[in-house]
Structures are given as C-alpha cells and as structure tokens.
C-alpha cells in the first residue's frame, strides 16, 4: 500500500539513517512511502506572530500537493516538520481569516508544464483536507501496535529504552500534539510493542536545546546533558527519539557534553524507526548506526536476558 510521506530537508542530508530506517521498516510492514512531487522545505518553525502569514504558505503548498495527488493523509517522522504541517493545517481548518490569507497567496502560484514550458496559474483553494500524521500515530492507528508485535523477528526484551518526546511532538496542546502534552503514552506503547522494557524518566518532555545549539551552544549543551543524565540515572540502556534536531543535540554533540561534564562518558541514542526496523528483522547495515557519534550497535547485540513475562 502506498502512503504519502514528507521526509523534510534534514532527512535528505544529515540524518539519512532516519529516512532509510523508516522506509525499510515500513516496507516490511507492507507500506511504500511516496513523496509528494516538488516538495520544498516546510519552514521548520511555525510563525508565532499573527502577522507572519507568508511563513504558512510553504507548508500549505506541500499539503495542497498531497491533496492534488489524491492523498488523504501525509506521514512525517521529523518532529519539526510534523509540528509546522499540523499547525498550518489546523489553522486552515479552524481559522477562516488565515484560510483566506493563505489561499490568497497560493492561488497565484505558477505551474510550468515540463514539456511545453507553458505557464498557467490559478489553483483551487486548499481547505485542510489532508490529515497530518506523525509516524507513531500512523503505526498506532493504521498499522496497529499488535501487528508490529506479531511481526517481530528479533528479541529486544532485555533492552531498557527511555522514550524521549521532546517539544514538538506534544506541544502546544489543543489538538496539535500526537498525545497529551502532560502525560503521553504513545511512545511507551510503541516501545512495548517492540518488546523493549520502557524506562520512564522525568526529562522525557523537556527541551533538548533545539536550535540554541547554534546561537547559545553552552546552554544547549547543558539542556542536552540534563536529558541524558536523567535517562542514565533512571536505568536506561538507550534513548529513543524521533526528531533529527534532538538527535543532533543528544548524540552528535556528545563530544561537547563530555567536555562540559567530566563524568559523562557517552550514551546510545536511537531513532525509534531504527529500533522498529531492527525488531522487524531489517539488516543492520541499513540502519546507519555508524553515522552516530556514539555507535549504539553494541547495545543491540549485548542484551542481558531478563525475566520479563511475555
């Protein structure tokens, strides 16, 4: 079955491991991921000022493209893309003024015929017809966690994983996030379906430092360290996450965290799709584990057997 999938810029360049593991895992589950034609950057950050309407046009254009290709839903794994696409779609559906303003921008888009080079304009209005889903939501509601459990090929029952939500999968509330902003369970349920042992930790919804890694690196390092430390002292073997920027902060910047905190010696961080693909029997070399600063490969192989009842 084909489903529309919006990877976003970062997955094409910096975190191909997230893109590859997502495609491989979904292929095992019987889904082929199709990208909307001519997709662009979604803008990464939802414009919070009521006056910055032009920032909503890029995500709206992507959604309109999905709709014009007959897609009723679009799936993402990047938490930033998810947040921007979802908030824009909700604006278009709930806010008549923004709907009008966005469509006023979009209708004058120019379409160029690739063969004749003739230019046409005038697009029908987009009114929020496409459902924006995070892959975790799709796995829960469309695939079903029980289907994943039934298809497991590898035993992860000895692996203690701390699910890290971060900000943009959950907040703001009001129908945007994939679960309750205060007491989410979807990530925990997903990891349980893989057979992992789930480790709860108080920093699972805290910010990792986000783009402050560029403008205020010391502050971002501190925030990332607090998240990692919390997972470690609560007994986790690894962290699972979804956002490429969280991955950058929590894994790729571990050299800087080590410099700032002498007691920190590195910690494995997985994308949730890498664990999914691994559990479903995908070959290890597809997962891109060598792209990580801290290669989490050994964690998958050296699992202590535990007495968890099946």
């Amino acid at each position: 079955m084909n489903i529309h999938y919006y990877p976003g810029c970062t997955l094409k360049e910096k975190t191909t491991n997230l893109d590859d593991s997502t495609r491989e895992a979904m292929a095992v589950l019987g889904y082929e991921l199709v990208e909307p034609a001519n997709w662009t950057c979604c803008g990464a950050e939802y414009p919070l000022s009521e006056q910055k309407i032009s920032g909503l046009t890029a995500p709206a254009r992507i959604l309109r493209q999905v709709h014009s290709e007959g897609g009723g839903q679009v799936v993402t794994t990047c938490a930033f893309c998810f947040n921007v696409l979802k908030r824009t779609n909700v604006d278009i559906k709930r806010n008549p003024l923004k709907n009008k303003q966005i469509n006023a921008f979009l209708k004058d888009d120019i379409k160029i015929d690739p063969n004749t080079k003739t230019k046409t304009t005038g697009f029908p209005p987009y009114n929020g017809e496409v459902d924006v889903l995070h892959l975790l939501e799709f796995l829960r509601d469309e695939v079903g966690f029980h289907t994943i459990r039934a298809g497991l090929k590898r035993d992860l029952s000895g692996l203690k994983v701390a699910p890290y939500y971060g900000c943009r999968m959950l907040r703001p509330g009001g129908g945007i996030g994939i679960d309750s902003p205060d007491s989410p369970v979807i990530f925990e349920e997903f990891l349980e379906s893989l057979g992992c042992r789930v480790v709860d930790f108080p920093f699972k919804q805290e910010c990792c430092g986000s783009y402050l890694a560029v403008s205020r690196p010391a502050a971002a390092t501190e925030a990332s360290y607090q998240v990692l430390r919390s997972a470690i002292i609560n007994g986790a073997d690894a962290i699972a996450l979804s956002c490429p920027l969280c991955y950058y902060n929590l894994d790729r910047r571990q050299d800087r965290i080590k410099d700032a905190h002498a007691g920190f010696s590195g910690f494995p961080v997985f994308f949730f799709t890498q664990l999914l693909a691994w559990a479903l029997g995908v070959a290890e070399d597809v997962l891109g584990l060598d792209q990580h600063y801290y290669n989490p490969k050994s964690v998958l192989h050296n699992q202590p057997k535990t007495e968890v009842a099946q």
């Binding site: 950050e45 006056q51 900000c167 902003p181 490429p244």
Partner: protein, 135 residues
C-alpha cells in the same frame, strides 16, 4: 534600577500591539510564575519569562524589547502548556522580536554561524533559528 510607571497613550499602544501580534491577552497574567519555574532555559536568561510579561503589562517597551531573554526562548511551549491563563510566552517573545528594530540587521544571521559548525548542523536548526532571529 529606577522605573517610573505611567500607562499613557504610548504605553497602551505598545501593550495592544504586543497582544495583537502574539494573539495573547497579556493583561490576563497574574504572575503565578509557573512559566519561569518550568522554563528549561530560565538559567540562561537575564530576566525570567514571567518578568517579560510583567514588563509588557506595565507598558515598559524599552526594557521589554532590549532584554536578552526573548532571544533565548527556544519555543518549546513548556510555559504555554502550564500557564493557567493560556498565555504562551513564545508568541509574546516573537511579537517583541518583531517590534524590535523592525527593518535593521539580522540579530543572528548566516554570518554569525560558526564556520566549523556549518557542515554538521542539521538544516532544520538553521532554518528555525533564522526564522526566529533574522529578518
């Protein structure tokens, strides 16, 4: 620091403009401080998130627009999810950044990115940051 408070026409105009841009009613804040208690970056700010709102409530435009805290906010929305009055400080900070020197230079632009980081940074970090801090 000595501050004189007078809510005249200019102050009212500033408060209304922040409310209009952010879409939030800043008057509804009663300074409970839950935003500051939960803010993961309060430690790196010159004034606390609830103090940003207080400055706006008092119409102190110069103080509110010149604080460093509005550049530190990472829009994680922890404050928004905890505010009993539904204010989200990320939006108020965005409104303040928009009112600050509207036509002038980037506050943090492409030239400010450390060269050694340019290759390793994920695209989304740069795009999101420039959306916040450059024109």
């Amino acid at each position: 620091m000595k501050i004189s408070i007078k809510i005249g026409a200019d102050e009212k105009k500033f408060i209304d403009r922040v409310s209009e841009l952010s879409g939030k009613n800043v008057y509804s804040c009663y300074q409970c401080g839950r935003c500051s208690a939960g803010c993961p970056f309060a430690f790196d700010m010159d004034i606390l998130p609830n103090q940003i709102i207080r400055l706006v409530q008092m119409g102190l435009a110069e103080e509110a627009l010149s604080c460093e805290a509005i550049n530190v906010c990472a829009s994680c929305f922890t404050c928004q999810s905890r505010c009993p009055k539904g204010i989200d400080i990320a939006s108020v900070a965005e409104a303040l950044r928009q009112l600050r020197d509207p036509q002038e230079k980037d506050f943090f632009g492409p030239d400010d990115v450390p060269r050694e980081l340019a290759d390793e940074l994920p695209q989304q970090a740069l795009v999101a940051l420039f959306r916040k801090l450059s024109k």
